[in-house]
C-alpha cells in the first residue's frame, strides 16, 4: 500500500509516494511505519520523534488531513477509520511553518505561550520555603489540562488559525492560560486571562477541532469557554464577542427564552449595526426578518419556571 507524504526540502514542496507491504506494517504504529520507511527506503525523510509513548508530544502529523500523534496511532485503527484504504496521505501539522518534510517550527507557538504567562504566580500567603496548600478537589479540577503534551494536534485543524493566525493563538495556549487562571493557588487569574482576551479569546469559531483531535482528551474549546465566562464575571465586558454571547444569555434568562435576532444584532454591535445594513435588508427582503421583533418576541410558556430553576442554581453556587 502507499504512503503519500507531503515533503519540503527547504526550498520546494512536493509529494513523494512510498510503497510498503500491508503485512509488514499491520502490527505497527504510524511512527513505526515512518521509521521503517526512513530506515529501509529513504533516510532523507524527516520527522521528529522522541519518547514513542505519547508523553513528549514530538510526533504530531496529519493523516488524510487530520492530526494525530504518530506513536499512539495503530495502523489497524487507521485502517478501520478510513475504510481499509490502500493509501494514506501524510502531511506535517497544519498551522505551523514547515521546516522540512514533517518537521515544523515551534518558536512562534512558544512565543504565544509566553504571552499568557504560563507559570503560576502564587498567592501572597504562600512561599518558596513553605510551599502552598491546595486540596485534592482543587487539584482534580485542573489536572486534566496538565495532560497537555504540546503536540500541536489541536492547532493543526483549528479553523480560526487557518483563516488568520495574526489575531489568535494555538488552542493549547488558551488551555495553559485556563489552568493557571483556575489554579486555586493563583494570586490573580487575570494575569493569564487578560492576555488571553487581548490575543483573540473571543475569536474562537467553535469548530471543535481542538477538542476532537487532542490525543489526551482535553477540550481547549471548553477552556476557551471557561475563560470567557471568567472574564465576563470579572467585568471585561466590552467588545463584540462579549456582547454577542451575553445577548443569548439575556434572551434565554431575562427575555423571551429564545433568541431574538434583531436584538442580537443591536446588542452585539450597537450603532455599527448600520454596517450590517446590507445583511439586514437582505433578510427583510427575503421575508426572514420581522423588524417588529425589536420590541421583544413571544415569551415561551413556562419561562417563569425556567427563571426559578436558574435562580436556584445561582443560589446554590454562591454557597
Amino acid at each position: 500500500m502507499k504512503f503519500i507524504i507531503d515533503r519540503f526540502d527547504g526550498k520546494k514542496s512536493y509529494e513523494q509516494t512510498y510503497t510498503v507491504e500491508k503485512k509488514d506494517i499491520e502490527a505497527l504504529t504510524l511512527l513505526g511505519v515512518l521509521l521503517l520507511i526512513k530506515q529501509k527506503q529513504d533516510v532523507t525523510l524527516n520527522f521528529t520523534a522522541s519518547c514513542r509513548c505519547a508523553i513528549c508530544g514530538a510526533c504530531g502529523v496529519r493523516v488524510n488531513g487530520h492530526a494525530y500523534i504518530a506513536c499512539d496511532s495503530k495502523m489497524t485503527e487507521l485502517f478501520e477509520e478510513y475504510g481499509e484504504a490502500d493509501a494514506f496521505r501524510i502531511s506535517p501539522l497544519a498551522n505551523f511553518k514547515v521546516i522540512s518534510d514533517l518537521v515544523v517550527d515551534w518558536e512562534p507557538a512558544m512565543e504565544n505561550l509566553r504571552k499568557i504567562k504560563p507559570a503560576l504566580v502564587a498567592k501572597a500567603e504562600f512561599s518558596e520555603k513553605e510551599g502552598c496548600r491546595q486540596n485534592q478537589e482543587e487539584f482534580d479540577r485542573i489536572i486534566k489540562q496538565w495532560d497537555c503534551i504540546l503536540c500541536g494536534c489541536c492547532a493543526s485543524e483549528c479553523n480560526k488559525l487557518t483563516a488568520d493566525h495574526a489575531d489568535y493563538m494555538e488552542p493549547f495556549v488558551f488551555t495553559h492560560a485556563w489552568r493557571a487562571a483556575n489554579d486555586s493557588r493563583s494570586k490573580d487569574p487575570m494575569i493569564h486571562a487578560k492576555p488571553a482576551v487581548t490575543n483573540g479569546l473571543w475569536n474562537c469559531v467553535h469548530c471543535q477541532e481542538c477538542a476532537n483531535r487532542c490525543p489526551k482528551g482535553i477540550s481547549s474549546a471548553d477552556d476557551i469557554a471557561g475563560l470567557r465566562a471568567m472574564v465576563l464575571k470579572k467585568g471585561l465586558n466590552s467588545g463584540v464577542g462579549p456582547a454577542h454571547a451575553k445577548s443569548f444569555y439575556t434572551d434565554l434568562v431575562e427575555d423571551s427564552g429564545r433568541l431574538n435576532e434583531i436584538r442580537l444584532a443591536l446588542r452585539t454591535e450597537g450603532v455599527s449595526t448600520a454596517l450590517r445594513a446590507g445583511t439586514a435588508i437582505t433578510l427583510m427582503r427575503a421575508g426572514k426578518m420581522n423588524p417588529l421583533e425589536v420590541f421583544g418576541g413571544h415569551t415561551i410558556e413556562g419561562h417563569k419556571d425556567l427563571v426559578k430553576m436558574i435562580e436556584a442554581a445561582k443560589a446554590a453556587t454562591k454557597e
Binding site: 533516510v43 522522541s50 509513548c53 513528549c56 508530544g57 518537521v103
Partner: protein, 615 residues
C-alpha cells in the same frame, strides 16, 4: 575587562554567515541574526554568557537559576528539537524529598537510603547536601505552580517507593515527570529564557584548560558554528541508548554531552553503572511501570510458575529492581522463557485482578500493551523483558556545590552528570530530584563563574568547527548506504545487551571490546550520501551513533576493570562486592591520541558506615 552582555547586546553581537533563523521578539528568540557584527573580541563568532545544552528538567532549572542569579547575563538553552521532548517527561513514579519530619524522616535518612541504595558508591557529603536541597525543592516546586496530588491537609502527597525507609516519594498522579518538566518549562518561559531550537551539540572547546564554548550544528540550515560562552552547562541526559531499542529512554537521548565532555578531556565517571528496569516492552523497550506489580501482577515463566519464589521468596514480584531484573534474565538464560534473542520474554499477568480494576488502576499499562504488542491485558498476559532505564554514570563532577567539572567554565547537571549521587544503583524517585536540584546548582554555579570570567578567543572552537565542517562534507558525499548506519546501530545495541547487560563476565566483555572496535572501524568508513543541508537528520543520527559507540567503549572498559559486583553491575566471575579494591569510582578518560584510559577516583565516605546491602 569583564564584559556583561545584556540580552540586546547578545543578539546584536550574535552572528554567523549562516541562513538567518526566524527572529521573534520576546523570550523565545533565535541566537543568530542575519547581520554580521563583532562585539568585544576580534573573532566573528556568536557568543553568550551561559550556554546550556539540553532542555529537560535540569537544563530548564539551570537557565532560570542563572537568570535569577545575574539578570545581566545572556542565557541560552539549546535543544535538539523543542524544549518539551525530554526524558524528564517520561518519569512516572515521583520526586523524592523530605518535607514531613513528623514520622522520623530526615535529610540524613534520605541520604542513608540513597547511599545504601547506591551500594555505597555514593559520595556521602554530597548526598546529604543533595537530600537537603531535594527536600527544599518540593515546596519550591509547589510554589512555582507544580500540581501535586494532595493529602487531606492540603499538603504535598507522598507514596512509599523502592529502597526508601520512609514515605517521601512526592507525586502527581501517575505522571510526575511530565508534570515536573512542564512546571520547569512554564517557569522558564515566564522567566524569559531564550531557546535555540533544532540545534545539536557537536563538541566542547577547551583551550589552555578552560572551557571556550561549544560547537553547535543548526539542524534547520545545516550550518556548523562555534559559539563562545563563559560558562557551558551540559544537561543532555543519559546514555542508555547504547542498548539502542532495549531501553526505555527517548530516541534523542544519546548521551551527546557525555561524549563531548569525554572528548574535551573530562572523565566519564562510573560508565558501567546502568540501571536495568525489570519490566520493559519487548518490541521497543519502553517501560511498564512498577505499579503493575504493585497492584498484584504475577511474573510467569514458560512453565507457568511464579519464578520470583526462587529469587526473593518473601517479596516475590516486589523485590528490588536489580533483583527482579536479574531473576528474569536468569529465567531467559536457563531456557524457561519464551521467544529468543533480543526478543525473549517472560509474562506479566494481571488478568486475575479483573477487568474493572485494570481499567481503573492500570489504564496506562493496558494502553501500552495494546499499542506495542497488540495484547489486551484484560484477556492475555503481557510480554516483558528487562530494559536499560537510567545512567548512574556520567560526566565527572568536581564539586557538588556548583556542579562544576574539572574544566573551569564547564558545568553539568541531571542524568548526564555523575557526582555520584546514585552510586551503583539509583533509588526510584531520586532522578527527578537530581534534575531539579543539580540543575539549579549548576545554573547558580555557571552564573557565578560567568559573572567574573572573560570570553576566550575561541581558537579550539574554531578548529573543531572546521573539522566538523570537513567531516560533514565527507560523510554526506561519496557513495554509501544509510542502511549500513542503521545496521551498525542495531548491532551495537545487541552486542551491548548480550555482553554488557545485566550479567557480565570477562570473556563477554573482552569479546565486546573486540566487537566495538570492529563496529568503530565500520563507523569510520560510513558514508551517508545526503547533499541537502536542510534538516539533514541522517547526519544527526550519524553524530549520535558516533557518540553511542564512544560511550559503549568507555562503559566496556570500566565494566571490564571493575572486577566485582556492586549494585547494577553484576559480574558473574566476581559475584561479591569488593570494598577493599573497588570502593572507588571508575574514571574513563581520553588521552591526547584519542585512546580511552582507565582511572579511579575516591568515593567520599564520611557519615555512613559501609555495610552489606540487605533489604
Amino acid at each position: 575587562m569583564t564584559e556583561q552582555f545584556t540580552r540586546r547586546e547578545f543578539l546584536q553581537s550574535a552572528c554567523i554567515t549562516m541562513g538567518a533563523l526566524m527572529v521573534s521578539t520576546g523570550g523565545v528568540e533565535s541566537a543568530y541574526a542575519a547581520s554580521t557584527t563583532t562585539a568585544t573580541s576580534d573573532t566573528k563568532m556568536p557568543s553568550c554568557d551561559i550556554l546550556i545544552i539540553g532542555s529537560g528538567g535540569a537544563g530548564l532549572r539551570a537557565a532560570v537559576a542563572a537568570m535569577k542569579k545575574n539578570p545581566k547575563l545572556s542565557v541560552v538553552v539549546v535543544s535538539k528539537t523543542m524544549p518539551s521532548r525530554s526524558a524528564t517527561t517520561m518519569a512516572e513514579g515521583g520526586i523524592n524529598g523530605v518535607i514531613d519530619f513528623s514520622k522520623g524522616d530526615s535529610y540524613e535518612l534520605h541520604a542513608y537510603d540513597t547511599v545504601k541504595g547506591g551500594d555505597f558508591l555514593v559520595d556521602q557529603d554530597s548526598s546529604i547536601k543533595f537530600c537537603k536541597a531535594a527536600g527544599e525543592a518540593i515546596n519550591e516546586l509547589d510554589y512555582l505552580g507544580m500540581p501535586f496530588s494532595r493529602t487531606k491537609e492540603g499538603k504535598v502527597k507522598a507514596r512509599p517507593f523502592g529502597g526508601a525507609s520512609k514515605v517521601r516519594c512526592n507525586f502527581s498522579s501517575d505522571k510526575t515527570g511530565h508534570i515536573v518538566a512542564h512546571t520547569c518549562l512554564d517557569d522558564a518561559i515566564s522567566s524569559g529564557v531564550k531557546f535555540l531550537m533544532d540545534h545539536e551539540l557537536l563538541d566542547i572547546g577547551v583551550d589552555n584548560g578552560n572551557c571556550e564554548g561549544a560547537v553547535l550544528r543548526n539542524i534547520r540550515t545545516g550550518d556548523i558554528a562555534p559559539v563562545r560562552a563563559k560558562s557551558v552547562i551540559l544537561a543532555t541526559g543519559g546514555y542508555t541508548r547504547i542498548f539502542w531499542n532495549r531501553t526505555s529512554t527517548p530516541y534523542i537521548s544519546t548521551g551527546d554531552g557525555v561524549a563531548a565532555a569525554l572528548r574535551a578531556g573530562v572523565a566519564f565517571k562510573d560508565p558501567e553503572m546502568v540501571q536495568f528496569h525489570p519490566t520493559g516492552v519487548v518490541h521497543g523497550g519502553t517501560l511498564i511501570t512498577e505499579a503493575a506489580r504493585g497492584e498484584g501482577g504475577y511474573l510467569l515463566n514458560n512453565l507457568g510458575e511464579r519464578f520470583m519464589k526462587r529469587y526473593a521468596p518473601s517479596k516475590m514480584e516486589l523485590g528490588p529492581r536489580d533483583i527482579v531484573a536479574r531473576a528474569i534474565e536468569t529465567e531467559i538464560r536457563e531456557g524457561r522463557a519464551f521467544g529468543h534473542g533480543l526478543e525473549a520474554y517472560v509474562l506479566l499477568d494481571v488478568r486475575h485482578l479483573g477487568k474493572e480494576k485494570i481499567i481503573k488502576d492500570l489504564p496506562q499499562i493496558r494502553h501500552v500493551g495494546k499499542l506495542f504488542e497488540n495484547i489486551d491485558l484484560v484477556d492475555q498476559p503481557m510480554i516483558i523483558r528487562p530494559t536499560a532505564h537510567y545512567s548512574m554514570g556520567g560526566i565527572d563532577v568536581a564539586k557538588f556545590d556548583d556542579m562544576s567539572t574539572p574544566v573551569p567554565g564547564l558545568f553539568t547537571a541531571g542524568e548526564a552528570s555523575c557526582v555520584s549521587i546514585h552510586g551503583a544503583n539509583r533509588l526510584g524517585g531520586n532522578s527527578l530530584s537530581d534534575a531539579v536540584v543539580t540543575g539549579k546548582i549548576a545554573g547558580d554555579g555557571a552564573a557565578a563563574y560567568a559573572s567574573k570570567a572573560d570570553f576566550s578567543a575561541g581558537k579550539r572552537l574554531h578548529d573543531l568547527a572546521s573539522q566538523w565542517n570537513s567531516r560533514f562534507k565527507e560523510v554526506t558525499s561519496g557513495s554509501g548506504d544509510a542502511k549500513q548506519m542503521y545496521a551498525i546501530r542495531e548491532e551495537l545495541g545487541a552486542q551491548n545487551w548480550d555482553n554488557m547487560g545485566i550479567f557480565r563476565t570477562q570473556s563477554k566483555l573482552t569479546s565486546l571490546g573486540g566487537s566495538l572496535e570492529e563496529l568503530q572501524a565500520r563507523y569510520n568508513a560510513l558514508r551517508i550520501p545526503n547533499p541537502n543541508p536542510v534538516y539533514n537528520t541522517a547526519f544527526t543520527e550519524y553524530v549520535e551513533l558516533g557518540n553511542l559507540l564512544l560511550l559503549s567503549q568507555a562503559a566496556c572498559l570500566a565494566a571490564s576493570e571493575r572486577k566485582e559486583s556492586r549494585g547494577a553491575h553484576t559480574r558473574e566471575d566476581f559475584a561479591k562486592r569488593d570494598d577493599a579494591n573497588f570502593l572507588k569510582h571508575s574514571m574513563v578518560t581520553m588521552n591526547a591520541s584519542g585512546k580511552l584510559q582507565m582511572g579511579w577516583k575516591d568515593v567520599e565516605i564520611t557519615q555512613f558506615k559501609v555495610e552489606e546491602r540487605k533489604y
